[in-house]
Symmetry: C2
Subunit: 351 residues, 2 copies
């Protein structure tokens, strides 16, 4: 019988955090690509555009004028998907027709006053300032809402409609679907194994090494065993931390530094400003924040769409939408590629 | 207190088939769109291109020459994600690192000898021939494999790498993730309510009417109460049918006719060849095919990405990837728009 080789032989892997399976078919990278090629990202973004509503001093859709901020800038999203006061849809008349109330707030965080930078091109102290805003907005909105989703959509390919470096925060009166799944999985793991799922997972990856991308005093970055997106990564603190605001000053500095390294590697992979969706998951907040959430471990997911080059992405369509996620290179291959990349940004080397 | 209006007030809805929630924020359609605009689809596809491996008489990647087929044409995918003979990854050494064997076959079905037609531009008998191939490939591969996923990726936007009208069939030795979820939900519903979930759901939608798009003697098309994609639809037989091969000749003719109507409406919505992923779900097959699968009802899902125009799509990114699906118009609004569209293709009206 042939010996199993993950990079040669298709197989399925289980995601214990979100209770999902992925089909790994690494031999598929051999097929030629004849499909859609994405437009190259905008080469030149002006540093300051008075008509860009995210810029310092610009006028927003609601008529408000932004301050001439010189660091980060937090404000209410002018087109929020969640508003604080929607009425309740009322009781359901049938088990197949269930609707529930949804309330919340949506905010935007500008990372920097300049439109022509991205996180990997910012300094570590500038990134540290972003980490501090994340922690404080989590604290502020978490006082009221059970889930505060901080996420960054980077790149036009990811539906990001503004090149100015920014992220969003959507706080909701309900635990969103994926949060619910992670809650169930982590709770079940803790009750069976008496330790948090992601603490044990991080420890195992430190031993196994083949999926590690970066490690630092307080953090690790790895391509999860069950990664779906080609270069997906998971960013984990080494210490058991349930939520962003619990991070110590040293852990925050170290986070800024490891994020800069990871995002530099990402940009270096295809020598492009690497598009992705990223976001933080931690223990639920709101009125139940005081309950026992020790089964939760804080983490960030990075989901980048590119597969082959700066303009050829992975399409999660067809089989993926109807049956199961499928990936075209192994997580170990992805980790190896990312590990090998320099920690100096190609843009700075070119200069 | 304000009266709840689904089209004005955000709320969440439950998908009982796939056990997921969606955030409905219809007021979001009011925001201006400044994000990525998709390239317009290719205007002219040549009817016959000898270099296109899907055309009659063309040579494929493996050197085989296609027959000069004049109807449908079924063949093995030259770059299959699933192969019949992959070795087993062996037992897992840790509950967080679970991999399992995956075996299967991947096939391609050309719908028509011409590259410049799509299903809505084909005649009802031509579409009926496609239905018959679907049923027979399901029968053939279902004899061996527990899940046979028939799916069509239409349009470059959906990662479709070849404009020739075709679909794919991936048969697997495992029940894929989404099939497992539908299996669990339908089984639980049947055991609690003593009838198939989708039979009751179809009956309810026929009474409620507001989400119906098309009805015929044997079929219905509706925008599900829990739809995620802007113009997502569900195609259901009226009779309790577990799998495609069980369809009677009359049901197959009627299916061809209602598909032509639905896809014509889709194309008419933005006067473009409407991109989508579609596929069939029915009771599992393979060695367990003889078990009791009465809780299953055959259905097709249509997942089209367009939201505002032929070039502005919905991006399922950020919040959607990290927290929960979110839609920008209500399913009722989508159904109303689709209902109002003509059943004559804009392309034929222009001629
Ligand atoms: O097989 P194709 O059409 O080349 O590829 C397309 O469909 C596959 C199955 O849904 C996906 O895995 C690919 O990402 C997509 O580009
Ligand atoms: O809010 P934005 O950046 O305009 O919009 C983007 O992010 C949202 C939240 O992830 C998504 O719902 C939209 O589809 C996407 O285009």
């Amino acid at each position: 019988a042939t010996t199993f080789l993950a990079s040669e032989h298709q197989h399925i892997r289980y995601n214990p955090l979100q209770d999902e399976w992925v089909l790994v078919s690494a031999h598929r990278m051999k097929r030629p690509w004849q499909g859609q090629v994405e437009p190259s990202p905008l080469k030149t973004v002006p540093r300051h555009d008075p008509h860009n509503p995210l810029c310092p001093g610009a006028t927003r859709a609601n008529g408000e004028v932004n301050p001439h901020y010189d660091g980060t800038f937090l404000f209410d999203n002018d087109f929020p998907a969640l508003q604080p006061d929607a009425p309740n849809p009322g009781p359901s008349d049938h088990p197949l027709f269930q609707a529930e109330a949804a309330r919340g707030v949506c905010k935007v965080i500008c990372f920097h006053p300049w439109s022509d930078v991205t996180l990997p091109l910012m300094s570590v102290p500038e990134i540290r300032a972003v980490v501090d805003v994340w922690a404080s907005v989590m604290e502020e909105l978490g006082a009221q809402y059970p889930w505060v989703q901080i996420f960054e959509n980077k790149g036009a390919m990811m539906g990001c409609s503004n090149p100015h470096p920014h992220c969003q925060v959507w706080a909701s009166s309900f635990l969103p679907d994926i949060a619910q799944r992670e809650e169930r999985s982590q709770r079940a793991y803790q009750s069976q194994h008496r330790e948090p799922l992601l603490m044990e997972y991080g420890r195992q990856e430190l031993i196994r090494k083949e999926r590690l991308v970066l490690t630092s005093e307080h953090w690790l970055v790895l391509v999860p065993f069950w990664a779906v997106w080609p270069f997906q990564t998971l960013l984990l603190p080494r210490r058991h931390v349930r939520r962003l605001p619990e991070l110590t000053p040293a852990e925050r500095d170290d986070l800024a530094s490891i994020m800069k390294k990871l995002l530099t590697k990402y940009d270096n992979l295809f020598e492009t400003s690497f598009p992705y969706t990223m976001g933080w998951h931690g223990a639920p907040t709101g009125s139940e924040a005081g309950a026992n959430w020790d089964h939760w471990q804080l983490h960030a997911h990075y989901y980048p769409p590119l597969l082959r080059s700066a303009t050829v992405r992975k399409f999660m369509v067809g089989y993926e939408m109807l049956a199961q996620a499928q990936r075209d290179l192994t997580p170990e291959q992805a980790a190896e590629k990312l590990r090998a990349l320099p920690e100096v940004h190609y843009y700075l080397r070119q200069k």
